[in-house]
């Protein structure tokens, strides 16, 4: 018979283990050590790789697409860490690349760890995947994929399968990553035969799905199956990139993929798990107690009440203390985690990329067409707001640019939205094109700086002469505009601590410049205004960290 204390002990174990696991799990999601694509992206930008490289085109160095497939990881790590050494060691590939790209030597990156380089490679690999093609403008799946799609439908695969959910058979998402190509070929070709051959995976799969056998497709050629797999692969890539090319557009009300949706989901899952555990524990306590009651009624003992009986049977005070200790420590761990989470993540909308009423592509306008940011956001120069341009700015170009050749002689549907908003009819006689019923366009704000902090664009764009990308990220690559920086105070402060003020070219700072020069003369190397032999006054030096610079 199980003792009550054991049950409690066990349930506490389960409970603490679960919370521990959840905690560790959540932590590991944030763990920085293991290589990850996200980390790789960060590094890629940090190390300014894009100064010489792009994924899909030659800049100074070669295009990086599928580089991981062309060269071994080992070689790549060596090359990235110190390409000079590699060349000097006589590596032919290395020398060839060096010559191919005009003998412009790549920087060495000896400070990067293996994991960091792996992260970068992982990110490159990820960027090389088909979605990259989808987002670089063509947006069209290639012929093989199209063929696969056709076959998929022809063979009525969807009768039993879907990409992202179980129908009768399993979900197909990323199946090419789960199984080897050969195995898939033999399975699709004739799964019965495969099972009979004693393949453990095949038998397990068969059993997992209620022993419902899949049809045999011996009529399909190897190419056909490849095509289908290519299609599945294509479909497995998250849809965000593809949707953002703006085929849908329209109503901006549905903000999918915001940070909060997923958080809420996680929170609900964790809460549900905890509640479930509590329910189990309580149920078992109840059962145990009723057993004790039965024992008490049936048994022969000196105690008069159940309580006394229980007390004597299980002297639990020490255990209670232990239990409390464990619960408290678990609570503490969770609390610290919650605090950490709250401080760093809640309210941060980094990556927020809502669907906008017009599928305006910065990648096209700022990237491909190379239009200056301040052509449209002209007020950034002299106002606190960079402001969303008014439609008359759009019309400077789109009075002519209508892309009719791409839409069977019709105006591009996205451009048409501008016309509709302005009540503009491009086909009417000049002078009669503007109607009397214009409607505003309600864009979704991406950067939601709270009211309590004052930010002035002209201060940063005009006076400090910052590139817009410094805070807004590589806008010229964004199909859908998204929040790039965290917009947390620490992020502002960091920059204010490290950025120098251009005191030489602004008469406002004349006194300050003279002062710094005098200080350097007097104190020499010890002067806090000296860095790399130059006058360096950071924003923090001149009160850039004062509360009332931003909060009033």
């Amino acid at each position: 018979m199980i003792k009550l204390s054991d049950i409690i002990k066990n349930s506490v174990k389960v409970f603490s283990l679960a919370t521990f696991l959840i905690t560790i799990g959540s932590f590991s999601a944030h763990a920085q050590d293991a290589p990850s694509a996200a980390k790789g992206k960060e590094l890629f930008e940090q190390q300014a790789c894009m100064a010489c490289h792009a994924i899909d085109r030659v800049v100074i160095g070669p295009a990086l697409k599928d580089i991981t497939k062309q060269k071994s990881e080992e070689w790549l790590i060596k090359w990235i860490r110190n390409n000079v050494q590699l060349r000097e060691s006589g590596d032919k590939d290395a020398i060839a690349i060096y010559k191919e790209y005009n003998q412009a030597a790549m920087n060495t990156y000896e400070h990067l760890t293996d994991n960091e380089i792996k992260s970068i490679l992982m990110w490159i690999e990820e960027e090389s995947a088909p979605k990259a093609t989808a987002s670089t403008g063509t947006g069209e799946p290639d012929a093989q994929v199209l063929k696969g799609k056709e076959l998929f439908e022809q063979q009525a695969c969807m009768a039993c399968h879907a990409i992202d959910r179980v129908v009768i058979g399993p979900a197909l998402k990323d199946v090419t990553k789960r199984r080897s190509k050969d195995w898939l070929h033999s399975w699709i070709h004739n799964n019965v035969k495969l099972r009979e051959s004693g393949d453990a995976d095949a038998i397990a799969l068969y059993k997992e799905y209620n022993s419902a056998a899949m049809n045999v497709y011996e009529n399909l050629t190897t190419e056909d199956i490849d095509a289908i797999l290519a299609y599945i692969e294509y479909e497995s890539v998250p849809k965000v990139a593809k949707e953002s090319t703006g085929v849908k557009g329209g109503d901006a009300q549905s903000e999918k993929g915001t940070f909060y949706n997923t958080t809420t989901l996680y929170v609900i899952i964790v809460i549900a798990a905890i509640l479930l555990i509590i329910a189990v524990v309580l149920y078992r306590i109840r059962r145990k107690l009723s057993n004790v009651l039965k024992e008490f009624e049936a048994g022969d003992h000196k105690e008069k009440t159940v309580t006394e009986y229980l007390k004597n049977k299980y002297n639990t005070s020490r255990r209670t203390i232990n239990t409390i200790l464990i619960i408290v420590s678990v609570g503490l761990v969770l609390g610290i985690y919650g605090f950490y989470f709250g401080v760093t993540e809640v309210g941060v909308q980094r990556g927020y990329a809502p669907t906008q009423p017009i599928a305006y592509s910065h990648a096209l306008h700022a990237g491909e067409l190379n239009i200056d940011c301040r052509y449209c956001h002209s007020t950034a120069d002299y106002s606190k707001a960079a402001s969303i341009p008014s439609l008359n700015t759009c019309m400077n170009c789109h009075v002519g640019v209508q892309l009719r050749d791409k839409y069977d002689g019709e105006v591009s549907p996205e451009i048409q939205k501008i016309y509709t908003a302005l009540d503009y009819n491009p086909d009417a006689k000049p002078g009669e094109r503007f109607g009397n019923n214009p409607k505003n366009i309600k864009w979704v704000r991406v950067h939601n700086l709270p009211d309590l902090s004052y930010f002035n664009h002209s201060q940063h764009a005009n006076v400090a002469g910052l590139e817009c990308q410094k805070c807004h990220g590589p806008v010229q690559e964004m199909e859908v505009i998204q929040q790039y920086a965290t917009l947390q105070m620490g992020w502002c402060i960091d920059c204010h601590r490290n950025t120098g003020v251009d005191v030489e070219n602004n008469d406002y700072y004349e006194k300050l410049h003279a002062f710094a020069k005098k200080d350097i003369e007097k104190n020499g190397d010890k002067s806090k205004y000296l860095k790399d032999g130059k006058v360096n006054i950071t924003i923090a030096n001149i009160g850039g960290l004062d509360c009332s610079k931003c909060h009033y």
């Binding site: 106002s383 707001a385 008359n392 864009w443 009211d451 005009n462 009332s548 009033y552």
Partner: protein, 1054 residues
């Protein structure tokens, strides 16, 4: 020696009452209502541990769940077609004219994203850069939801077409039409009325709620022209005012304040004598103030006239009554005036033509015309003659008029006999009002055609002869209203849109509203009629500048022939002065904020404490101490005031130091609807005192004698801010006499400085070679008149909430800047006024202690005689603006547990609201009590329905300043948003800062230039110079706070 003067704020502080002592120790005026809050929700009063855990658990869960909420989706709506001159985030400034009062000050309107958010004076206009509190606050009426939003017919909303058709029909069948308006000095509007009169036989009658008939009539008789002259107080060495509050309410106070302070530079300042019953703003600034029973005014002036006439060899006025008071005072005034011939001004606030005639006679004898008083460049600000309106009433009663149009005039409220007027109006078939609000007169008429707010209107004005100004709209009409001039033009068939619409390109505004009609009219009028403006370009230049000075106004100068016979004045004076010198006078006066009551419903002016009594949200009867003792009336009692059948019942009492014996005073302009109640409903604020006015000698008079006052049961606590903080005998105020100042510029400020110990290391910005800024402010107590414009300006600039009467009673007003008003006993000889105590040149001020004053009081009570109360009748007054002093060694900063208040690298004491957790330690530790705590979320609370919590009212909020939530401290930031903006502008233009480029809101609004702000690290800046001035001192120097605000001693010319 004069700085030994002991100042006190109110009677309870003076007498150190038990309640005052108890109050002194309390942080809040009342205990925190925690129990009340808990019991309201039926919670147990004594919450036990379980309840605590319940609340605790619930709040944690609620907060946790709230944190999981999805962030709200916020929309951004750009312009479809961006107007060229409007940039989001950048303010535009437009010059225009203040339309709220008929004083016609030039203004600059700050507009952000198409919303006017601030009004200030136009530095180039005749009135200077300052603006009155009422002018500042008038912007709120633009966003007032109580404004009429559609034309009314029979009290129901309708459209313009309907009313226009009805009115045109009614006018066509009218034999005679009357237009009743306030003073209109707009040339184009007058031409509209002229055109209107050409079509319909029309009488234009000017009716001013507060009229200056007396001056107009006197000048008509004496000089042949019914005008108000221009007074140049800056050139005047001696100013004698008989109850004319020219710094607060009389004719053109903003203009006069500017001129007055110009003439008050220490060392060569003018001497100001004030004779009055109730302590007015001017009286509080006077060098010598004499408490005068105002019904005796004629006698005073006649006596003074005779003294001057005697010396000048002119005929005397035969005065039969003898003025046995103040003989020597008037002797000294006469001597002073005769010493400064041609450089003095005598004015009177009376509306009696005979009194004004004697004042004219005085000024003529003194040679002031052509020197300090200019009849040629006269004022057009008030032109209403009371007799005309009286004639209108009798004509209307006789059925002369078939139609009447009320334009910006509200006689049903401000006329003393509203019943009589109502009777007369009942004889008129068609009654039309052009009012913006459903005021008392608009309620009596069939058609109300709401006028635009002045910030929505085109127009022009000529407040002073030859000085013209343009009015231009800064927002398209908020409601379906129409400019009054356009209404008139429409009814005479001239209301069509111009063929070539000047706003065609800015189509939306012009299509929806008839703005273009009057723009075209004004422009054409100027090009055709105004000399020197001949092209549209000329007009546009005037529009840009906001003002236009006519080149050599070709009006013939009024010949200075003055020939008035005063021989017949004996009986007139006898009739004016009541026989019984002990009869109680009632003086009706205007408050600096409320004025004639047109904007009684404006919460900003209601919450502005009266400069003298510091009462908000109410009018009351001011009574002198002696009378109060006699009638056994105490502060907060209710009284009943009766005169000739007019009664004000249950009226609260304010015992007012400075109030002359046997006189009482009530402010006009109250008794109208406004949002004063806690629940946001409209209620009547105060009581209407206009019915007490009397029609004597062809003009409405504001002084009546022989009123009855009696105590009735009940009690009422006035929301008074004066007792909220105390001086506790500290040396906050320094002053000197002009004579001492001439000998020693540091007079009054030359006491030994305390030895100072420094706990902190010096701030970097204070080092001699520091290249950064060190912001500081200097306030000249000699210039500050205490008018309160800065208080309102600061509230508007910094989104300071209005808290309402009840919260003010709890000492929770939020003003970031307050003006402390202090009283001190003046030396009077309380047994005999005739003794030469006031004014002899070698006069050494007697040191009157509080104790002496109290002794006198005790004597008075024991002897039941009035004489000793004279101490109370003639107190001297100091005004001291106090805001956050931005101490370098700030006591508030060291006690904040969360570093919410810290010091900036430019010498500012900064307040970071989002860090503040509301411990209030800082407020406790502040020696100046300038920190204000947000008890409520005023911007989103139905209990504070003033303007902050509705969509339209919120349009006036300054978008550069955070709207504070509840539970945080706030205080003056020295307009850090303006500092930042000014610096950024210089940086963008890549140049050094210019001194005076940044102006704080209070500085900008000050008509007296009493506040100077700037950079102390710039040696040449104005504020550095003032910091080095011998008159400058820090408050509570011994604490070594090293504030960023310095005060300059007040100089009195006695």
């Amino acid at each position: 020696m004069s700085n030994k003067t002991q100042y006190w704020k109110g009677e309870d502080e003076l007498l150190n009452t038990a309640e005052f002592q108890a109050d002194l120790k309390k942080e809040f005026s009342e205990d925190l209502p925690l129990d009340e809050v808990l019991s309201e929700n039926n919670f147990e009063l004594s919450s036990n541990r379980r309840d605590f855990l319940k609340f605790f658990g619930f709040s944690i869960t609620a907060v946790a769940l709230a944190a999981c909420n999805k962030a709200p989706i916020r929309k951004a709506i750009p312009y479809l077609v961006k107007p060229e001159d409007v940039t989001p985030g950048v303010a535009n400034y437009y010059n225009s004219t203040l339309g709220a009062t008929s004083e016609g000050y030039g203004i600059q309107v700050k507009v952000r994203e198409g919303r006017p958010i601030k009004v200030d004076g136009n530095p180039n206009s005749f009135s200077g850069k300052g603006l009155s509190a009422l002018g500042q606050a008038s912007i709120l009426s633009l966003y007032d939801t109580a404004r009429l939003q559609n034309p009314l017919k029979g009290g129901k909303e309708t459209d313009w077409k309907t009313v226009d058709a009805d009115i045109e029909k009614a006018l066509a069948s009218s034999k005679r039409v009357a237009i009743i308006s306030n003073t209109i000095h707009s040339p184009s509007a007058l031409s509209v009325i002229k055109k209107f009169a050409e079509k319909y036989s029309t009488d234009h009658i000017t009716y001013d709620a507060i009229s200056y008939s007396g001056i107009l009539k006197a000048n008509e008789e004496g000089f042949g022209k019914a005008v108000i002259p221009s007074y140049d107080f800056s050139k005047s060495k001696v100013i004698v005012s008989f109850a004319a509050d020219f710094l607060g309410t009389w004719i053109s106070p903003v203009e006069y304040t500017g001129l007055y302070t110009q003439g008050r530079q220490p060392g060569k300042m003018s001497r100001h004598y004030q004779f009055e019953s109730n302590l007015s703003l001017s009286g509080s600034n006077a060098d010598v103030r004499f408490p005068m029973k105002q019904s005796n005014e004629a006698l005073y002036i006649a006596t003074l006239y005779n003294k001057i006439a005697e010396k000048k060899g002119a005929a005397k006025i035969p005065v039969t009554r003898n003025l046995n008071l103040a003989g020597n005072v008037l002797d000294n005034v006469a001597k002073d005036l005769l010493d400064n011939l041609g450089a003095s001004i005598v004015v009177s606030g009376s509306n009696d033509p005979y009194i004004q005639q004697m004042v004219n006679g005085l000024n003529f004898l003194l040679g002031n015309y052509g020197n300090t008083i200019d009849l040629n460049k006269c004022s057009n600000q008030y032109k209403g003659l009371d007799v005309n309106f009286d004639k209108f009433i009798s004509d209307a009663s006789n059925g002369t008029y078939d139609a009447v149009i009320f334009w910006d005039a509200n006689p049903m409220y401000s006329f003393y006999n509203a019943e009589k007027l109502k009777g007369a109006l009942s004889k008129i078939k068609t009654k039309i009002s052009l009012a913006s609000f459903l005021d008392e007169t608009a309620e009596e008429v069939e058609y109300v055609c709401p006028d635009n707010h002045y910030l929505e209107s085109w127009g022009d004005s000529e407040p002073k002869k030859g000085k013209l100004q343009i009015t231009q709209p800064t927002i398209s009409p908020v409601f379906n209203t129409r400019q009054a001039e356009v209404s008139l033009l429409t009814w005479i068939g001239l209301g069509q849109k111009p063929e070539k619409d000047p706003f065609a390109s800015k189509e939306i505004m012009a299509q929806k509203f008839d703005t273009s009609i009057y723009y075209t009219y004004v422009k054409n009028y100027w090009i055709e009629n105004i000399a020197g403006v001949t092209t549209e370009a000329d007009f546009n230049k005037v529009l840009h500048d906001g003002y236009y000075n006519m080149p050599n106004s070709n009006d013939e100068a009024i010949a200075l022939s003055y020939n008035v016979e005063f021989s017949a004045y004996g009986p007139i004076i006898t009739k004016l002065v009541p026989e019984d010198n002990n009869a109680i006078d009632l003086v009706l006066y205007q408050k600096v904020g409320i004025r004639d009551g047109k904007f009684c419903g404006n919460p900003w002016v209601q919450e502005l404490p009266d400069p003298i009594s510091k009462v908000t949200w109410d009018n009351y009867v001011a009574i002198p101490k002696a009378l109060a003792e006699k009638k056994k009336i105490q502060q907060g009692d209710l009284v009943k005031i009766t005169h000739n059948g007019i009664v004000i019942d249950k009226f609260p009492v304010n015992i007012q130091p400075g109030q002359a014996n046997n006189t009482i005073a009530i402010a006009l302009g109250y008794g109208r609807k406004g949002k004063a109640a806690e629940k946001g409903a409209y209620e009547i604020i105060g009581k209407n005192a206009y019915p007490f006015a009397q029609f004597v000698n062809g003009a409405r008079q504001w002084v009546t004698s022989g009123v009855q006052i009696e105590k009735v049961s009940g009690n009422y606590v006035l929301a008074q801010t004066q007792t909220h903080n105390t001086i506790e005998g500290r040396d906050l105020l320094r002053e000197a006499t002009q004579a001492d100042f001439v000998k020693n510029p540091a007079a009054g400020n030359d006491m030994p400085r305390p030895h100072l110990y420094e706990l902190w290391s010096r701030h970097e910005y204070k080092r001699d070679d520091n290249p950064g800024h060190y912001w500081a402010m200097a306030i000249d107590l000699n210039a500050c008149t205490g008018c309160g414009a800065c208080v309102v300006a600061c509230s508007i600039e910094n989104n300071v909430p209005i808290v309402g009467r009840d919260e003010v009673r709890r000492r929770r007003e939020m003003h970031w800047i307050r003006i402390d008003r202090y009283f001190a006993f003046e030396n009077v000889n309380h047994t005999d006024y005739s003794k030469d105590l006031f004014l002899s040149r070698d006069y050494e001020p007697e040191y009157v202690t509080k104790e002496k004053g109290i002794e006198a009081l005790d004597r008075a009570e024991a002897k039941k005689s009035n004489a000793d109360y004279a101490y109370y009748e003639s107190v001297k007054v100091m005004h001291q603006p106090i805001m956050c002093q931005h101490c370098d060694n700030a006591p508030c900063e060291t006690v904040c547990p969360v570093l919410a208040t810290t010091h900036s690298s430019e010498g500012l004491n900064q307040m970071t609201y989002n860090r503040c957790i509301g411990t209030k330690y800082c407020a406790n530790n502040c020696p100046f009590k300038v920190r204000r705590f947000n008890w409520f979320r005023y911007n989103d609370n139905d209990k504070f329905d003033f303007f902050f919590n509705n969509d339209l009212g919120k349009m006036v909020i300054n978008p550069d300043v955070t709207v504070r939530t509840r539970g945080v401290m706030e205080k003056c930031s020295m307009c850090v948003q303006r500092i930042q903006d000014g610096k950024l502008k210089a940086k963008r233009e890549r140049r050094e800062m210019i001194d005076g480029e940044i102006e704080t809101a209070c500085q900008r609004s000050c008509p007296a230039n009493a506040i100077v702000f700037g950079d102390l690290n710039d040696e040449k800046s104005e504020v550095s110079k003032l910091y080095r001035n011998e008159r400058s001192y820090h408050l509570l120097e011994e604490l070594n706070l090293q504030q960023g605000v310095k005060y300059l001693t007040k100089i009195r010319n006695i």
